[in-house]
């Protein structure tokens, strides 16, 4: 009895220590990045990494960022939102039913589609860029938002998530029962499966959004004009305007590192908001999942 209690106590200590270590591991660089936005360029380099800067420097960085190329940053974020949300919507419409069908229905070619999806996920992107570029060029889409949205909305990762979710957490008998009750096939999906799928929809939506938001190479290749750049591509041109990464740009007009840090923080805010929203659905999923037995 005592030994069990003792091991419970020391187990708890170990867990706490390990968790704290991991929290520090994940959080310290983020804290540093947040503090960096409040510093002057020189302060960032010579000061203590954890010494906060001042509001004055923060507002100087802020105005430097939003005056870069006459406020190009706002445009980048708008573009990112357009691409990420556009692709997200198509991803969900295409991917959730597909994952459901792969997991819970029987049709010819099911295994083939699963295998193909897996293979495509394993091909290095480097190999796919040129063919996709040529394809979209043939149909004359290069430079239009669709040239980014369409390839991004192919999201095999999400289809697999959905597939595994449906095949592990929804009993097929439940669907069969619904069919007995006279549900048509699409009703089985919309009335029975979909309401139980909130957590996975949230999860897929979130990962698709993040991947789209952070996608660099596809928009870089597809969009020939800077008006259409999303935040990630824009950030690279910001990076290329800092002397530390591009000595030839050294001059009075160059961008300073804290401004870059601020740009970073501003550009990931939407991702964090989406994360917090989708977390609610993950928790909601807990109760939905509870009713299934």
């Amino acid at each position: 009895m005592t030994s069990a209690k003792l091991s419970g106590w020391s187990g708890r200590t170990i867990v706490t220590v390990v968790l704290t270590a991991f929290v520090l591991f994940f959080a310290i660089p983020i804290v540093w990045l947040l503090l960096a936005t409040t510093k002057s360029a020189r302060g960032l380099i010579v000061g203590n990494p954890f010494a906060p800067g001042g509001l004055g420097d923060l507002s100087a960085n802020w105005s430097a960022l939003f005056s870069f190329q006459d406020g190009a940053v706002t445009g980048w974020i708008g573009n990112s939102a357009l691409y990420a949300i556009g692709a997200l919507v198509i991803t969900l419409i295409a991917g959730i039913p597909a994952g459901y069908a792969l997991a819970l229905t029987e049709f010819r070619g099911r295994r083939l589609l699963l295998v193909l999806t897996l293979i495509v996920m394993l091909i290095p992107n480097t190999a796919l860029v040129l063919p996709i570029f040529l394809e979209l060029n043939v149909v004359g889409l290069i430079g239009s938002p669709l040239s980014v949205i369409l390839p991004m909305s192919f999201f095999p990762f999400g289809v697999y998530l959905t597939y595994i979710y449906f095949s592990t957490s929804i009993p097929r008998d439940l669907l069969a029962a619904a069919r007995i009750d006279g549900c048509r096939e699409y009703q089985v999906f919309t009335k029975v499966a979909l309401p139980l799928a909130a957590p996975i929809v949230a999860l897929v939506a979130f990962f698709s959004f993040v991947q789209n938001w952070n996608n660099f190479f596809l928009p870089f290749v597809m969009l020939p004009t800077s008006d259409g750049y999303p935040a990630q591509v824009g950030l690279t041109s910001l990076l290329a305007s800092t002397p530390a990464f591009n000595p030839s740009s050294a001059g009075a007009q160059s961008v300073q590192l804290p401004t870059l840090a601020l740009a970073t923080v501003v550009s990931v805010l939407p991702v964090l908001i989406v994360f917090l929203v989708s977390q609610r659905f993950l928790v909601a999923g807990m109760t939905a999942g509870g009713t299934k037995e």
């Binding site: 002057s40 360029a41 020189r42 960032l44 380099i45 010579v46 870069f68 190329q69 190009a72 010819r108 070619g109 295994r111 083939l112 040129l130 063919p131 570029f133 040529l134 394809e135 060029n137 043939v138 290069i142 430079g143 870089f220 290749v221 020939p224 004009t225 800077s226 690279t236 041109s237 910001l238 990076l239 290329a240 305007s241 002397p243 530390a244 990464f245 591009n246 000595p247 030839s248 740009s249 050294a250 001059g251 009075a252 007009q253 160059s254 961008v255 300073q256 590192l257």
Partner: protein, 451 residues
């Protein structure tokens, strides 16, 4: 069994689809009406009213602004990109895709690198080279002649000029006059004196430095100036690499001594480490012209106060005539596919030669000699420098021509093979064969014949 057959059938269907794709691709290669052209390359039908698309990096948007102000009637569309900086290679990446699609090229491109002419002047898989020849009538010979002599070398392949140089980045000897006077030292005139001074500094004032070897352009600053044939580009696809020569060894030996006594640390001037450790401690610094704005007169870097920074001509080796190296300097290209070559030409001519940009706005030393003269005057009147800037002008004309601009990056080779090895404590002299091997390998995979 049934499933297997089904799978095979859909695989066949997919293959057929891919075939259609290739056919469609082949079909669009034959388009476009090109004629032999009056400027030495095939050109498309010209339209004087056509809008030209101009790619610039963030800094060079000011050049485009200046052009629009001076020529409000020429329609231009400005696109900003990263300027191909920091090894991103985006200029080439994009042009390759356009070459495959046979459409979409911009009319004018600024690149922050100077090894782009090496590929842009060449046919790509049998298709027309991207860069327009500029010295066959497109740009007036008078104009070309007024560029600082040698400054168009990185743009010249087989005697043809494929780009205009935006700025020069000749290496000079920067020094802190106040500190030098205080310690009672003389500015070295030869590399031998430089080494002796470095050794003296190591003994008398440890912690102070006379240069750095941590940046990728170390070979351009020290080995180029020593006439070391590490990068003897002799043709579009041939290069001579010989790092075993006495010229290479003398530079390596000198640096080994100075690395050992801590006066030329293996630290990049753009790291926080450099700023923290060496602010106020830089006595001498051989380096490109742009060091002035990038590290000395820059509040986020060394921040050397007004009236302290001096500049001397690059040192010579013994009694040889002094030569120097070059680290970067942007280039402007005109596309051979442009529909409005006239406007494109007037744009690149304006941004490289007009005072409105090169003298009034540009941060770097102009490659166009008349502009350079005025630019230097303007810098001198700022009162920042402790000396005049004659040395910078002189260095601009004494860049050694035995070091070329190949398609591959010498800087990347150095950074990858030599910098970590110095950090491991190896001596440069012992690394010379390894360096040669690395350059040779890199040249060969890029299709060069190495001798």
């Amino acid at each position: 069994m049934v499933r297997f057959r089904a799978a095979r059938r859909s695989r066949l269907a997919a293959l057929a689809g891919a075939g259609a794709l290739t056919l469609a691709l082949a079909a669009c290669n034959s388009g476009g009406g090109t004629t032999a052209g009056e400027y030495g390359f095939p050109q498309v039908e010209q339209d004087d009213k056509a809008t030209i698309t101009v790619w610039v990096d963030a800094d060079r948007t000011k050049a485009a602004d200046a052009f629009t102000k001076a020529n409000p009637d020429t329609p231009i569309k400005v696109v900003t990109y990263d300027g191909s900086a920091n090894g991103s290679n985006s200029f080439r990446t994009k042009v390759q895709l356009f070459d495959r699609a046979q459409s979409g090229w911009p009319d004018v491109v600024f690149s922050s690198q100077n090894n782009d002419a090496a590929w842009a002047s060449q046919k790509s898989n049998g298709k027309q080279a991207f860069a327009a020849v500029l010295n066959d009538g497109l740009v007036a010979q008078d104009t070309l002649d007024q560029f600082t002599s040698g400054s168009l070398n990185p743009c010249t392949v087989d005697g043809k000029v494929y780009c205009l140089r935006n700025d020069l980045a000749q290496a000079v000897l920067w020094y802190n006059k106040t500190l030098l006077d205080q310690f009672g030292y003389q500015v070295p005139k030869t590399w031998e004196e430089y080494q002796a001074l470095g050794e003296k500094v190591g003994r008398e004032h440890p912690g102070y430095i006379v240069g750095t070897v941590g940046d990728a352009w170390t070979p351009e600053v020290f080995f180029w100036a020593s006439k070391c044939r590490a990068n003897g580009i002799t043709g579009p696809k041939s290069v001579t690499v010989d790092t075993g020569s006495a010229e290479c060894k003398r530079a390596a030996t000198m640096l080994d001594a100075l690395i050992a006594n801590g006066t030329t640390p293996n630290v990049s001037v753009f790291t926080p480490e450099f700023v923290k450790k060496y602010s106020g401690k830089v006595l001498l610094m051989p380096g490109p012209a742009w060091y002035a704005g990038a590290i000395f007169n820059n509040p986020e870097s060394l921040n050397v106060p007004k009236g302290q920074l001096g500049v001397a001509p690059p040192p010579a080796w013994g009694s040889d005539q002094a030569v120097t190296g070059n680290v970067g300097g942007g280039t402007w290209f005109v596309s051979s596919h442009s529909k409005n070559l006239k406007a494109a030409e007037s744009f690149v001519r304006f941004v490289t030669t007009a005072d409105d940009y090169q003298v009034d706005v540009a941060p770097g030393y102009p490659a166009y000699a008349p502009a350079a003269e005025k630019w230097v005057q303007k810098q001198e009147t700022s009162g920042y420098y402790a000396t005049d800037l004659k040395a910078v002008v002189e260095a601009g004309t004494s860049i050694w021509d035995g070091w070329g601009s190949g398609i591959f990056s010498q800087e990347a080779v150095w950074a990858k093979t030599i910098t970590p090895a110095i950090a491991d404590g190896k001596s440069l002299v012992s690394l010379l064969p390894e360096w040669e091997q690395a350059i040779t390998n890199q040249a060969q995979v890029n299709g060069y014949t190495v001798t």
